[in-house]
């Protein structure tokens, strides 16, 4: 337990360092855009005087280290990156107002993806190199290759337009309608990461399948189903938890794209709008918030896995 605490301290310190680096990089990105943000807000006819005045108001006339200091101070004290370049509203409130829809899709998609990937991995691993494994291999290839926005379009056509099971676009009002409007976006977003999860899970299951304790369990006459449920899945579950963390980053980006197909007013929608408006503060804010979310979730899964897996808790390497 003491070694776990020490290892956790190291992991937390590392996560803090990565978070700082994330903020600095995101700040660098926003510095590459400010001139255009001024033009976006003022139009091309503004005089130099108004331009300078606005630059001063937004703090763009100060040296970069002073701006970075302000950003860090804002983040630490308010969890905010500052006012939007375009409408002056707090970027934090703009993001949190829309985070509910985006996070719901992400969580729902992750649940769907884990269930689907587990089922696929169990079938392929227990039928290794036989026809179900081959068929699923092609299905997973298709899952990687299919553009999410195109799949979303086809799902809308089938389930919303023809079958009328789900709304065509937008968010429903009221809890039931709201959840119903998130089903297709979540399924669409999930498809992109199912192959990534399923492939790693299959490899892990195969590894456990050939482990001595499983061979021994089989030799004692335990049924395949019992071996699967009691020995295989629990042993593959911890590595799977790590996979959730590592695939979260890809899923968040995928959800942004999916939002544009289903016209969900989420963070992705805010991102696209900010790119059009050249709103560098909002773009920076979204980049920082999503990256920090990824860092925190990865840290938490790392800590939990190390707590539950004594082999790792004893200081084994995890990269």
């Amino acid at each position: 337990m003491r070694s776990w605490a020490r290892a956790s301290g190291r992991l937390i310190a590392y996560a803090v360092a990565v978070t700082l680096a994330v903020v600095v990089l995101a700040f660098g990105l926003s510095r590459a855009m400010p001139g255009s943000a001024l033009s976006a807000q003022l139009g091309s006819h503004a005089t130099d005087a108004t331009r300078q005045q606005l630059a001063a108001q937004l703090g763009l006339d100060r040296p970069w280290w002073s701006q970075l200091g302000t950003l860090l101070r804002n983040l630490i004290t308010h969890g905010d990156v500052g006012p939007s370049m375009v409408n002056g509203e707090s970027v934090r409130s703009a993001i949190t107002a829309r985070a509910g829809a985006t996070l719901s899709i992400v969580v729902l998609a992750m649940l769907i993806a884990v269930l689907l990937a587990t089922a696929i991995a169990v079938v392929s691993a227990t039928h290794q190199n036989r026809w179900p494994d081959h068929v699923l291999r092609v299905v997973l290839s298709a899952g990687i290759a299919v553009p999410a926005f195109w799949l979303g379009l086809l799902l809308v056509l089938l389930f919303s337009v023809h079958l009328r099971w789900f709304p065509v676009a937008g968010l429903g009002t009221g809890p039931a309608a709201w959840l119903r409007s998130l089903v297709l976006p979540a399924v669409t977003a999930a498809v992109g990461i199912v192959p990534l999860l399923a492939r790693s899970l299959r490899a892990q299951l195969l590894e456990v399948l050939h482990a001595d304790f499983v061979v021994a369990a089989r030799a004692t006459g335990l049924s395949s189903r019992r071996i699967l449920l009691r020995h295989l899945i629990p042993n593959a579950a911890l590595p799977a938890l790590t996979l959730v963390g590592t695939n979260l980053a890809y899923l968040i980006g995928g959800t942004f794209v999916v939002e544009s197909v289903f016209t969900i007013p989420g963070v992705g929608d805010l991102m696209f709008r900010s790119i059009t408006n050249r709103d560098s503060t909002t773009i920076t804010g979204i980049v920082i918030y999503t990256a920090v979310l990824v860092v925190v979730v990865n840290l938490l899964t790392d800590l939990v896995v190390r707590l539950l897996d004594p082999r790792l808790a004893r200081g084994g390497a995890a990269l």
């Binding site: 994330v22 990089l25 290759a145 553009p147 195109w150 991102m271 920076t284 990865n298």
Partner: protein
Amino acid sequence: MTSTRPGATLVAGLAVVGTMIVLAIAAPLVTGHDPTALGLTAGLQPPSWSHPFGTDQLGRDVWARVVYAGRTDLRVGVLAVLAPLAVGTLLGLLAGYFGGPLDRVVRFVIDTVMAFPFYVIVLALVAVLGTGERSIYLALAAVAWVNYARVVRNGTRGFAGENWVAAARGGGLSRRRVIGRHILPNAVPQLIVLAVTDVVFVILAIVTLSYLGLGIRPPTPDWGTMIFDGQAFVTTQWWIAVFPGLAVLVTGIGFSLLADGLADLYRERD
């Protein structure tokens, strides 16, 4: 049918990818239509003998556009993999071979870049760089190198401590020669598999950016913009959006099977 031959996946992948590449190169031979020629009186026609994939809202031939778009998307997809491959391999080799502070720095940068959600950071980079092909290369180069660096670094780290590396150095070979002639070749099979897998993700990224209006600019035909154009008509004129999507899907499955087949091949050889 219990087990197919191990080479079957590779052959299937090669066949699909080969077909898509040949179609793209031979575009003028497989269609008589100009992909950008407007036919305002012939808009929104369903698939027929003269227009096998139908026509879009501006009367352009969808088959011709799908084939010509393949030229753009395949070219950008393959080229955009090269810079990350080179940068990632170099950094991975150096970090793995030398270890120590350099290794720690490279790993820290890798972990930082990986914290950014792929599409979020690519979109932000495109916001800085502007739309178009050049931005796609730059944005992907800034992000995609980490996978190669990680794989090469981990592979090289294993070799660095082995006796044959020490022996080669002791025998008077320069560091550059040991890395270039002895360590790098060991990583090549894995790098090829990773690069081919990456083509799938890169083509998806290009098509996605173009769909969002941030990638390949019209009038250059591209599968993503075609799907965006067809979206408004999908309930009545499905062919405009469905065929370019199928092209992306088939291309991606092809490259994915090719990567799987190559991985099998290398695994068997070892």
